[in-house]
């Protein structure tokens, strides 16, 4: 344990199923106020890790510390301040959305008005008095999110929360999650198998593959790893290539596109100026931005988990 105290910390967390370590020596650190993106391909061990964080299953090895307390010793005190949504939303189909939340509220002991509040937060107010068996998958997912927020938790653990949502719903929920730390002082752990899902909200990223943590740092560090590229489309690519190589820039060609490593702003302006002065017609200048996904794929490459 270092000199820093984390809101949530795991040490050498390991889970074995039938002799296979599906989570292997995981050390995960989560600071207060962060949105931690827990990323990994299908079967990497995200849900298994989250189940251990919540005390639903017992680790074969290692420990979990939350709010400075040992999970095995003070599980109930810890759970008091955690909201969670694991894998698929839980619900009672024969009850209304409101009554579903009421079954939880009776135990969490928050005021009744909190139900209205969380329903509003996930925009489910209109469906509140309908039975959940009439809900669509996305509505159930929203109800699950509302349930996780009900007890005003300090820590929110969400396993693939945008599952089953349409694109607009995804953006909306992502926006909601993004605001949680600043607005309500919550810390969020968010799992996903899609980098794009957490790219826009996470402040820190942990990447898990085959049960092992292969990257854990601020998202900027991951971004820096991305070798960005610049693409320029022009009419006479042969001249363009000569001009650029005289400036020390090596390019690759695809049709009439020239591709080069990304450059600082000033340099790009210079390149474009030179190309135009050489009498070329520039059609498009674009930066390749999908490279973060490439990094994720590269990091988890060859990890045949399924």
């Amino acid at each position: 344990m270092g000199n820093q105290t984390y809101l949530l910390e795991t040490n050498d967390l390991t889970k074995t199923y039938k002799g296979t370590k599906v989570v292997n020596g995981l050390s995960l650190q989560l600071e207060e106020g962060e949105i931690y993106g827990f990323l990994g391909p299908n079967g990497a061990g995200k849900t298994t890790t989250i189940r251990m964080l919540l005390g639903l299953i017992k680790p074969a090895k290692g420990n979990v510390t939350v709010f400075g307390k040992d999970l095995t010793k003070e599980r109930i005190a810890i759970l008091k301040q955690i909201g969670s949504l694991v894998e698929s939303p839980s619900y009672y189909p024969h009850l209304t959305g409101k009554d579903n939340l009421e079954t939880l509220r009776k135990i969490l002991q928050v005021p009744k008005s909190r139900i209205t509040e969380v329903l509003e937060m996930v925009r489910l107010t209109k469906m509140a008095d309908r039975k959940v068996k009439e809900y669509s998958l996305g509505m159930k997912q929203r109800l699950g999110l509302a349930a996780s927020l009900l007890g005003r938790p300090k820590l929110l653990i969400l396993d693939e929360p945008t599952n089953g949502l349409d694109p607009a719903g995804m953006i909306e929920i992502r926006e909601l999650i993004r605001q949680l730390p600043a607005k309500y002082g919550m810390t969020v752990l968010l799992s996903s198998h899609l980098l794009t899902e957490i790219d826009q909200v996470a402040t820190k990223v942990g990447i898990i593959a085959k049960g092992e943590m292969i990257f854990q740092d601020r998202i900027e560090v991951l971004r820096e790893k991305a070798s960005r590229k610049l693409h320029v489309q022009m009419d006479d690519w042969e001249t363009g290539q000569k001009v650029l190589s005289s400036h020390g820039i090596e390019t690759a060609r695809h049709d009439n596109w020239l591709t080069m490593p990304n450059q600082p702003d000033g340099k790009i302006a210079e390149i474009v100026k030179e190309l135009v002065y050489s009498g070329l017609n520039i059609y498009r200048v674009s930066e390749e931005i999908a490279s973060l996904e490439d990094i994720f794929l590269n990091l988890t490459k060859g990890e045949e988990t399924l």
Partner: protein, 247 residues
């Protein structure tokens, strides 16, 4: 304080579940049987009708009900993924387990109360003029309630352990039908939990009337088996619930 909140939460989950039909099913059927029975005991106007109703209610329905109640109380946690939500609430697992237990006991209390009412209704409709032997029926229903405890403990254990509604129910039905036969054996009857509701209710009625017309020869075995099996099933069920992995 905390536990009563868990109880209230469990109770709310029964809303719209039509559990009332299940609670009333056996008393209503027993009433119909009581109305048409020809069994008559010369010295006691009510006794024939009440005995018939007790036999119908306790031999088959009561043991089956324990399984139905237990399955019902866990059904939606299994189907809707509720376990992981309930078990990440800030309450101990034992509180959840025993809240469910107590709700089942409450439903059983409702059924037995409805049964007492049913005997009065049947006799009154038949125009009996003697006073209703409330104390005797009450004692019988009470002992029947106690005799269901081991089965409830066993059924709740099975219902929380197994995802399927059908599995434990089929086992319960298969073990219930031989109960009538086994209850007639002075040796094996008291040892067989599925025969206990029948033995308990008939014996308590007869005993409270000052007779000994029940099937029960060995009251000691009956009570020892009842208490130990209740303790055993409760302990195993609750420990398993607390220890198991929830995936």
């Amino acid at each position: 304080m905390m536990f009563s909140n868990v109880l209230k939460s469990e109770w709310l989950k029964l809303k719209h579940s039509k559990v009332v039909f299940i609670v009333l099913a056996s008393p209503v059927l027993a009433t119909v049987i009581g109305l048409f029975t020809t069994m008559h005991v010369p010295e006691h106007q009510w006794l024939g009708t009440i005995t018939t109703m007790i036999l119908a209610h306790s031999a088959i329905f009561l043991p089956l009900l324990t399984g139905v109640f237990a399955a019902l109380i866990c059904r939606h946690e299994h189907s809707g993924g509720g376990w992981k939500q309930v078990l990440t609430l800030p309450v101990s697992r034992l509180q959840i387990y025993f809240a469910k237990f107590i709700v089942i006991l409450f439903l059983l209390t409702l059924t037995q109360t409805a049964f007492i009412t049913a005997t009065w209704v049947a006799g009154t409709l038949k125009g009996f003029s003697d006073p209703f032997p409330f104390v005797n029926v009450f004692v019988s229903a009470g002992v029947g309630w106690l005799a269901c405890l081991p089965l409830i403990a066993l059924q709740l254990w099975l219902a929380t352990m197994l995802k399927s509604f059908a599995g434990p129910s089929v086992v319960n039905v298969m073990l219930t039908f031989p109960a009538v036969v086994i209850a007639n054996s002075p040796l094996f009857g008291p040892m067989y939990p599925w025969a206990h509701p029948l033995l308990g209710m008939t014996q308590a009625l007869s005993y409270s009337l000052g007779g000994d017309a029940g099937f029960l020869d060995s009251a000691v075995t009956f009570y020892v088996v009842m208490i130990t099996s209740f303790a055993l099933f409760t302990a195993v069920g609750s420990v398993h619930f607390q220890q198991r992995e929830w995936v």
